[in-house]
Structure formats: structure tokens, C-alpha cells
């Protein structure tokens, strides 16, 4: 029996779901292994009978909390997919203002029609079995997780920083180019894609288990960032974490 899979979106750009549809060659192979029964972005039929739930997006409404809890009850395995689901992500930027301010900025005069709560990652609401961090999530990691689930194997995220993959990619260090980077404390698994393509790491995959934040801050300061700059840098994707407060 093929496991039944559902994709569910909460507050996000839905780019991670789009990423799944971009799999092309692998998507056909994947569909031989699992039945997708719920995928709003790709199909109209829906079913509430699923084994594996992929959750995309951060939780930003009371209604979202209830919906997520229902999904958790039904799914044997629940996976947070993408930075918003894993970390709260960019959505958490709003947590640094009052909810009233946020409503006003977004909806102006119509603000009183709406409601919102501080953004939070999926695991702030329900238990999460696996994480697929990244903005967007990494295709190879997604496929590796599906294979691991089918083989009854634990999927593990790397517990070392992006620097490892960045060095192996043969990149010139961002700091040597006079810029700054969150790579030294950010969980690897992205193959340092941003630095390899001439950018720097914004920390979209969250922090490693035991990051040396003090040392990273010291290095960022030495390379010209102010305390405020550093905070802003961490808040970009990791606003829900202590490091951004």
C-alpha cells in the first residue's frame, strides 16, 4: 500500500509547494511511491485520509491553529516544509510590531475586519516529526526524506554550519570579499547555494543545534556590522528565535 500524502499551506508564498511541482523527472518517480490526496496548488480533489502531511507556512491566525491541530490528529507523520513552517521565517518580522499596527499597515481603514496573531513555526503549535528548512526547501532533502520514510529510516538534517558545504564548494569566503554572512551558524544542507551564486547566507535554514552566537556576533562586528545590523540580519529568517530578541 502506497502511503497517502497531503500538502497543506498556511501563511507563506507557497513557493515550497511550487518547488515540489518543479521536480519534473523525480515527480513521476515519486508518484509511483506515494498517492497524493491533497495538494491545493496542483489538484482540485481533496481527501482527509492521509498518512503523511507536509505543512507549508507559518501559523498566524487562530483558525490556522485549529486547522493545523486537526491535520496533526489525522497524520501519522507531520513534516514542516520550508523556512516559514520550520522557523516562522519572514512572517515573524511582524512580531516586532503590535498586531494592531500590522493590521493597519496591511489593511488600512479595513483593519477592523481582520484578526492576526504573532507568527510562529509549526512546532510551536503541534509536534513535528521532520523538518525541511530552507527558502525554498531543498529538493534533494525532500526526496531523501521521502525515501527515508519509505525505508523506515530516520532522516537527519546536517548538524554542521553552511561553511562546511561552502568550503567544499571551493568558494571564496564572503568575509574575505568584504561582506558578511550567517553561514558559520546556519544549518547546512543547501550546498551553500547562495554563496556559490555570489550572494551571502541569510540563515534561511535556521541555526545548527549548538551555534556559537557570541563568536559569530563578534566576527560580524569586526567586519563592520553594528549591533542593530546584526539583530536585523538574524531577524530576517530567524525572528522567532532567542537570537533575534
Amino acid at each position: 500500500m502506497k502511503p497517502k500524502v497531503g500538502f497543506f499551506d498556511f501563511t507563506s508564498c507557497e513557493g515550497c509547494q511550487l518547488e515540489v511541482l518543479n521536480f519534473e523527472g523525480e515527480l513521476v518517480e515519486l508518484l509511483k511511491l506515494v498517492d497524493i490526496v491533497n495538494f491545493r496548488e496542483a489538484m482540485t480533489e481533496k481527501s482527509d485520509n492521509y498518512d503523511i502531511a507536509f505543512i507549508e507556512g507559518a501559523i498566524t491566525t487562530e483558525a490556522g491553529i485549529n486547522r493545523l491541530k486537526k491535520i496533526r490528529e489525522r497524520a501519522a507523520v507531520l513534516i514542516a516544509m520550508g523556512t516559514c513552517a520550520c522557523l516562522g521565517g519572514i512572517n515573524c518580522l511582524k512580531n516586532f510590531r503590535t498586531m494592531e499596527e500590522n493590521l493597519k499597515i496591511v489593511y488600512g481603514d479595513a483593519a477592523h475586519y481582520y484578526n492576526t496573531i504573532p507568527a510562529r513555526p509549526v512546532d510551536a503549535v503541534v509536534a513535528v516529526d521532520y523538518y525541511l528548512p530552507g527558502c525554498p526547501m531543498d529538493k534533494d532533502e525532500f526526496i531523501a526524506l521521502v525515501k527515508a520514510l519509505l525505508l523506515n529510516k530516520k532522516a537527519r538534517l546536517p548538524n554542521y554550519p553552511v561553511c562546511v558545504e561552502c568550503k567544499l564548494a571551493g568558494n571564496v569566503c564572503v568575509f574575505e570579499k568584504g561582506e558578511t554572512c550567517l553561514g558559520p551558524v546556519t544549518r547546512a544542507g543547501c550546498k551553500a547555494i547562495c554563496v556559490t551564486n555570489g550572494r551571502h547566507c541569510w540563515g534561511c535554514r535556521g541555526l545548527v543545534d549548538d551555534p556559537n552566537i557570541d563568536s559569530e556576533k563578534e566576527i560580524l562586528q569586526k567586519h563592520g556590522l553594528t549591533t542593530a545590523d546584526i539583530l536585523e540580519r538574524f531577524r530576517h529568517f530567524n525572528g522567532y528565535l532567542e537570537v533575534s530578541k
Partner: protein, 344 residues
């Protein structure tokens, strides 16, 4: 063996001749103001006056990821070894990197022969080049790696308008046959080579305070030094120092399977003792869970363990780790010198 001389212009012709007859050449190229080994398509790309490459050439002998087995688990599981070795020329390798490769040769042939490594090593032809513009973090003379008289098939030394070529093996001799206009090196040219080397020795900015052979003894006394805690406090456990190291050869082994869930491969990939989970065991245990124990372990490997086990130092003084370390704590020379200062 007698040494040869080749003009710089002719060296380019030599490289292009090799390329045109289908040789695969991996050499040093420019990369964003730095240097990196990569596949050479034309002699014009080749840099021989570089200071250091971002990653060491040993990665072409011990790849970052390498299949060890192919398996199929359709019915009854079957597995086959994968041992790949395609001939290639590693062009422009500095003496410290040659000595690092010699350490790998020893490590992969001691006790048990690792055919995956050794076959690839045998398929490689090494053309070295003397390092005349050392990296500011390098301390090769202290590690006896500034120059070498073996470990290469050919070794070039830049003497201005031409290269002196030392022949290190029959393979090197054979390779040189395809080279236009090599002359026997004259006494004057050999003297110039010596002068260039002497000049290079004067350019190193870092040196070890302890004679190389005394390093194990120094470390023997330093295990409980408070300096380990101090030094490692800012360590990011980011692995940069070990990922760029030419003498680090530790690896992890994992299985990967195709989406058909039937065919797959077992592969090894670079792993290193500075990473948090390196010494973790099944369940919860981790034998080096704090950064100080990992930091100290690496330094002991560089200065003591490898030397005692394989008879040659575990560090060649190239300075890559020190260049890569944002916390500025990775240089073995600096660390050993601090230990030495403390033990006085």
C-alpha cells in the same frame, strides 16, 4: 637524475600538446582573486606563481564524495565494489601539498590497502612546482615541507624566463618526452634555482618555536593547559579549517538509494573531527561533545598522533586553515607556539 630546463613559452606548448593528445590535466587557475585547482582546457589558464589554492589537490585523490559499492536490493541483496581510477595529470602542485599526498599514501596503505584511494593515486601523474611566493599564514620551513626531493613525477622551479625541471620518476621522464626543446640544465641555471629557493625561504612570516621532532613531546605536556579552553572559546565548529586541510582524510560512510528503492550506492564523504557529531555513537553518546575537546583533538592529530602513527607530521604548514578561520584560532603553528611559551 639530471635536471632539464624549459622556457616558459615552451611549457605552454608542452601543456597544450598534452591536452591535444587527450590527457586530462587538473591545474591551478585564478578564482575571484584567489586560486583553485580545476580542469584545464588551455595552457593560458594555468597559474604557476600562485601562493595557495582554496582547496588542496588531494581532493582529486580522495574525492569529497566517492562511491564504494553499488547494490541492488530487489530480491536478495547483492553488492559490487566500485573502484574508479582514470589517468590524469595533477599540474602545479606545491611541495607542501606533495608531502600531504605522501601522508595520504601512507595512511591508505598502512595495515589495510585502500584500493579506492591507491588505484586513483597510481593513475595520477604529479607535476610539482616550487612555491616561491608563500602564503602569509604558511610555515612550511618549520614543517620540512618548503621543498621536496620526492613524491612527484616532475618538479618545476621558476628561474625567471624558464623553468628548471627535476625528474622524479620514469613516469615523469616518459611525460617529458612529449616536451619540445628541453635542455640539460647548466650549472648557472641550477645555481639560479638554488638562489630562488633561498629567496623564497626568506619570505615566510610564521615559524614554529619548537623543532618539528619535538612537537609530540611538547603536546605530551600540554593536555591540561588552560590555553585549550581559551583558544577554542570562539570556535564556531564550522569545519572550515578541516575542509580546506590537505592532510585531513577522515570520512563518513552512508547509503543512498534511487527513487526506485532498489538500486543504490554506498559512498564515503569527507567528514572531520571538528564537526559536532564526529565522535557521536548510537543512542545519545558523544565522546567529543564540547568544542574544546574537538579543538584539542585536531591539534594533537596535527602535531602528535599522526606523526606517531605514520612517521610523518599531520600538518604540512600550508596555512589554509589559518586563512579560512574566521575566529582566527586555527593555525597549528600559532597554537603550538603558545603552548611552548606556556611550558617555559
Amino acid at each position: 637524475m639530471t635536471e632539464k630546463v624549459l622556457s616558459k613559452q615552451n611549457l605552454n606548448i608542452f601543456i597544450n600538446t598534452l591536452l591535444s593528445r587527450g590527457e586530462e590535466i587538473v591545474g591551478v587557475k585564478k578564482k575571484e582573486g584567489k586560486y583553485a585547482f580545476g580542469k584545464i582546457a588551455d595552457a593560458e589558464e594555468v597559474c604557476l606563481d600562485y601562493d595557495i589554492t582554496l582547496l588542496p589537490p588531494s581532493m582529486y585523490l580522495l574525492p569529497q564524495r566517492e562511491a564504494l559499492l553499488k547494490f541492488n536490493i530487489a530480491e536478495r541483496p547483492v553488492a559490487f565494489p566500485v573502484i574508479e581510477a582514470n589517468p590524469f595529470i595533477l599540474f602545479g602542485v606545491h611541495p607542501y601539498d606533495i608531502k600531504a599526498i605522501e601522508l595520504l599514501d601512507t595512511a591508505f596503505s598502512t595495515d589495510n590497502l585502500d584500493t579506492n584511494y591507491l588505484n586513483r593515486r597510481e593513475a595520477a601523474t604529479i607535476v610539482g612546482v616550487d612555491c616561491l611566493n608563500p602564503n602569509p599564514n604558511a610555515f612550511c620551513p618549520s614543517m620540512d615541507t618548503a621543498f621536496t626531493d620526492k613524491g612527484y613525477d616532475l618538479l618545476l622551479t621558476d628561474i625567471g624566463d624558464s623553468y628548471v625541471i627535476a625528474i622524479g620518476s620514469e613516469k615523469g621522464q616518459e611525460l617529458l618526452k612529449g616536451c619540445p626543446d628541453t635542455q640539460e640544465a647548466t650549472q648557472v641555471e641550477l645555481k639560479r634555482k638554488e638562489e630562488e629557493r633561498q629567496k623564497a625561504l626568506g619570505k615566510y612570516k610564521v615559524a614554529l618555536d619548537t623543532p618539528l621532532e619535538k612537537l609530540p613531546q611538547l603536546l605530551d605536556k600540554s593536555w591540561n593547559s588552560p590555553l585549550w579552553d581559551e583558544r577554542s572559546e570562539s570556535c564556531l565548529s564550522c569545519g572550515s579549517c578541516v575542509m580546506v586541510c590537505p592532510t585531513c582524510f577522515c570520512f563518513d560512510v552512508q547509503d543512498d538509494i534511487e527513487l526506485n528503492l532498489v538500486e543504490g550506492e554506498r559512498y564515503r564523504q569527507k567528514d572531520a573531527c571538528m564537526l559536532v557529531d564526529f565522535a557521536a555513537v548510537a543512542g545519545e553518546g558523544n565522546f567529543r561533545k564540547d568544542k574544546v575537546s574537538r579543538y584539542r583533538h585536531r591539534m594533537y592529530r596535527k602535531g602528535k598522533y599522526i606523526m606517531e602513527r605514520f612517521g610523518r607530521p599531520g600538518c604540512v604548514g600550508c596555512g589554509r586553515c589559518a586563512s579560512a578561520c574566521l575566529a582566527e584560532i586555527a593555525s597549528p603553528a600559532e597554537t603550538f607556539n603558545l603552548m611552548k611559551g606556556e611550558s617555559k
